[in-house]
Amino acid sequence: MRKWLGILLLTLSSFQLHAAIEIYQFDQPKQEELYMQMIDELRCLVCQNQNLSASNAALAKDLRKQTYQMVTSGQSHEQIVDYMTQRYGDFVLYRPPVKASTALLWFGPFILLLIGIMVLIFTLKKRNELNDEQLSNAEHEQIKQLLDSGEK
């Protein structure tokens, strides 16, 4: 418990409730796009419920600077992601990587939908079968009555 007090104190002292506004210049609009995308997708490790774009923590400032330098030196999305995950693990990515451990996460929604549709179709089929059976039972009764009354 005391361990976290340190982190908590640090967090509270650096958590500032306003968006971080920095002026970075880019020669190429593609680089600016990549920078904006990266700081949106990277998680702040101090103010852990903000991305690097929104956080004003000192570490977030440093990481944005790093990202800026990597982007302007021509590095790609993958290279920047690698740099960050090498140091902080997958936790730093708001877009979880697609790997074996996250397969269920990424394909889950699609699988859920499929299962839902299949259950739907199955239930509908079964309901209509049951109703058909009942119908023929009722029809059976009708026929029987007709036959009985006809025999008299």
Binding site: R2, K3, G6, I7, A58, L59, D62, T85, R87, Y88
Partner: protein
């Protein structure tokens, strides 16, 4: 029975949440455990013409303690570190993180200096390389330069006795085996 499916799924959910109560969602484990320690070439706090590099520590088990004079929790753990080096033959290298030399030196004068040397990381870039996201943090590095453990937050006496000393002993024994 189909109607029990929601109940079964709920029970699984509850188990997950119960386990979750024991975990700390804020803790970010280090991806460096079992991997070589990142390199750095930083000036020493005592004499800025001297450079400190983790290479120099190869052959022994050592600790890297990330600290700063502006960090309140570092104060709390400092006595624990002082006690540690007094009672055990363990080398601690300090990483002075985003601090000012004068303040750092004063801090050590006031509170004691358990470090064999202190590397100055003024910009925090080496900190980023090591995956530091808060202060204080402490790493245990083995004789081959592989990071074996990371302590997030201040080191407590409990951590020393139950995790750090046993780990260091077992690492040191491995070499003499």
């Amino acid at each position: 029975m189909k109607n029990s499916l929601p109940l079964v799924m709920f029970i699984l959910l509850v188990i997950l949440l119960a386990v979750g109560l024991e975990l700390d969602p804020r803790e970010v484990p280090s991806p460096y455990i079992g991997k070589p320690a990142p390199s750095f070439d930083l000036p020493s706090l005592a004499d800025s013409s001297v450079t400190i590099n983790p290479e120099e520590m190869k052959g022994k088990v050592w600790l890297l303690n990330v600290w700063a004079s502006w960090c309140g929790a570092c104060r709390a753990e400092h006595q624990v570190l002082n006690r540690l080096v007094k009672n055990h033959k363990i080398d601690i290298v300090g990483l002075n993180y985003k601090d000012r030399d004068s303040k750092a030196k004063q801090w050590l004068e006031d509170l004691g200096d358990p470090y064999v040397s202190v590397a100055v990381d003024r910009q925090g870039l080496s900190g980023i390389d090591w995956g530091v996201y808060g202060v204080p943090e402490t790493f245990i590095i083995d004789q081959q330069g592989i990071i074996q453990y990371k302590n997030i937050g201040p080191v407590t006496q409990y951590d020393i006795e139950n995790t750090i000393i046993p780990l260091i002993s077992s690492l040191q024994q491995e070499i003499s085996r």
